[in-house]
Amino acid sequence: MSEGKSRLQKLFESGAFVVTGEVGPPMGADAGHVYHAAEALSGIIDAANVTDNQTSILRMSSIAASLLVQQKGLEAVVQMTCRDRNRIAIQSDLLGAWALGLRNLLVLSGDHQSFGNDRHAKNVYDVDSVQLIKMLSDLQRDGVFYNGKKAKGVPEFFIGTTANPFADPEELQLIRLKKKIQAGAKFVQTQSIYDIDKFEEWMEKVRAWGLHQEAYIEAGVLVNKSLRSIEMTQKVPGMDIPDALVERMRNAEDPKEEGIRIVLELIERIKKIEGISGLHIMAVGWEEIVPVVVERAGLSPRPTIE
């Protein structure tokens, strides 16, 4: 049912080099914040992840904010973590998301709640991300829930997931990525890349395992605007930032420009890597720079799709 396919899926399938970004929902009920962020990125990128309480910081729901994003003409990628909901709540929310017209879904474990502002909260992890991807893919293929009941109206999300090329143990992380893809993940967004040499080595392994032929792989980059920003990024779980890049930010006369230059250099290298199907740009707290990065990286204008 190709007319049900998302723009993101169609673009990947067309062979285009896809560019996605992020919209972080507000710490509150302010729709205007989401509209503003979506308007700034509409037409600039192909789709935007709408984060699910990222780093466990309580924010507006990804599904609700995704709908707001799409109202401004920007396609959304709903994020769903396994941290806060059990299998009943996850599936229920996603049925609603599909019914609302949301078509892309990114499944992830979710950062532990100890990183956020509600560290005394209970976590759920009824299912892990491999199990959730499989649960949803099976539902989409067979029209039957994991509990054995038939669905009345079956979603057809374009399901993606994440991979961290810098996490340990490296081999087991690749095995897990393979399991996610076998479970039904069709696209993969990586953790932000700073150590490009290490990423190139990782992609060699991805290619050796043939994973790039089974799922579209998007390389993640994060634009830092200051020394403080890159230092904060270092503290995020799973980040691996070479000291040389931190030093560049420390010594830069114009840290903002330096941050952009670092990302552009990374993008140049990334574009040349075999098996990469797109770029996922994050700019936490500096979203207005994304159009500049896309433009200067030669990724503008974005392709149109019928």
């Binding site: 396994c82 941290r83 299998r87 474990s109 979710g110 950062d111 532990h112 100890s114 990183f115 976590n123 992890y125 009824d126 299912v127 892990d128 991300s129 491999v130 199990q131 499989k134 649960m135 994991y146 994440t162 991979a163 961290n164 810098f166 996490a167 340990d168 143990p169 081999e171 087991l172 992380q173 095995i175 897990r176 393979k178 399991k179 076998q182 479970a183 953790q191 779980p237 799973g238 691996d240």
Partner: protein, 222 residues
């Protein structure tokens, strides 16, 4: 074994404040071994609490508070007291409370986990009693109790240099599983996708019980 730690003395003082005569019940099993609520700790606590005034304390140390077989002495002594202060795990506290109609039993410990003693003064969690053991699949390292996210299919992206993203005093369970399965030459197990768990055998199925008709004295119908 069950691992526990003593509540702060201020909290204990506050909870026993209304009572003149307090029977401190140590427990001779797990909490003796983990140095939280054995006879020694009970006597020390009695001495400490006696300092502050007009309350009286006695100490009794049943072999196990969770077993009626060992509670005869406690039953006698508690008749003297206005309240009991149990230095057992939560099981012991509740079990004593069931026996003491009209008499409060106050917890003196925080029951922490099922775990092991790693070093002098150092205990770590090993089991959550989920009711459906998978240790044969994971090289003898429990993903439910020892992975902060109870992942069944490998580590999250926060595993770094063998440590958990929550903090680097926690070993990543999946690093341990990986190392162990590698040494056992059972790497193929890591490629298996473990399906969603049936958590009904865990606390999620409601409070659990085990009945063994083969060892029951009388036939029980439920």
């Amino acid at each position: 074994m069950i691992i526990a730690s003593q509540k702060p003395i201020e909290e204990i003082r506050e909870t026993i404040k209304p009572y003149k005569k307090v029977l401190i019940a140590a427990c001779g099993t797990c909490v003796t071994v983990c140095l939280a609520g054995g006879e020694k700790e009970a006597k020390e606590l009695a001495d400490l609490l006696s300092l502050s005034g007009d309350q009286e304390f006695r100490v009794v140390t049943p072999k196990r508070q969770c077993d009626s077989e060992f509670l005869e002495e406690f039953d006698k002594d508690v008749s003297w007291a206005d309240a009991g202060l149990s230095l057992a795990c939560g099981v012991g506290v509740q079990y004593l409370a069931e026996r003491c109609t009209g008499k409060p039993i106050i917890p003196g410990l925080n029951t922490a986990f099922m775990g092991t003693n790693r070093d002098a003064g150092y205990w770590t969690e090993m089991c959550q009693g989920c009711g459906n053991c998978v240790l044969e699949k994971t090289g003898g390292v429990c993903p439910v109790a020892r992975c902060s996210k109870s992942h069944f299919n490998g580590p999250c992206g926060g595993s770094s240099k063998g440590k958990c993203e929550v903090n680097d005093s926690i070993d990543c369970a999946w690093q341990l599983i990986y190392d162990r399965l590698k040494s056992l030459n059972q790497m193929e197990r890591l490629f298996e996708t473990i399906p969603p768990r049936d958590w009904s055998t865990s606390r999620d199925g409601g409070p659990r019980k085990i009945r063994r008709p083969d060892v029951a004295i009388e036939e029980v119908t439920e």
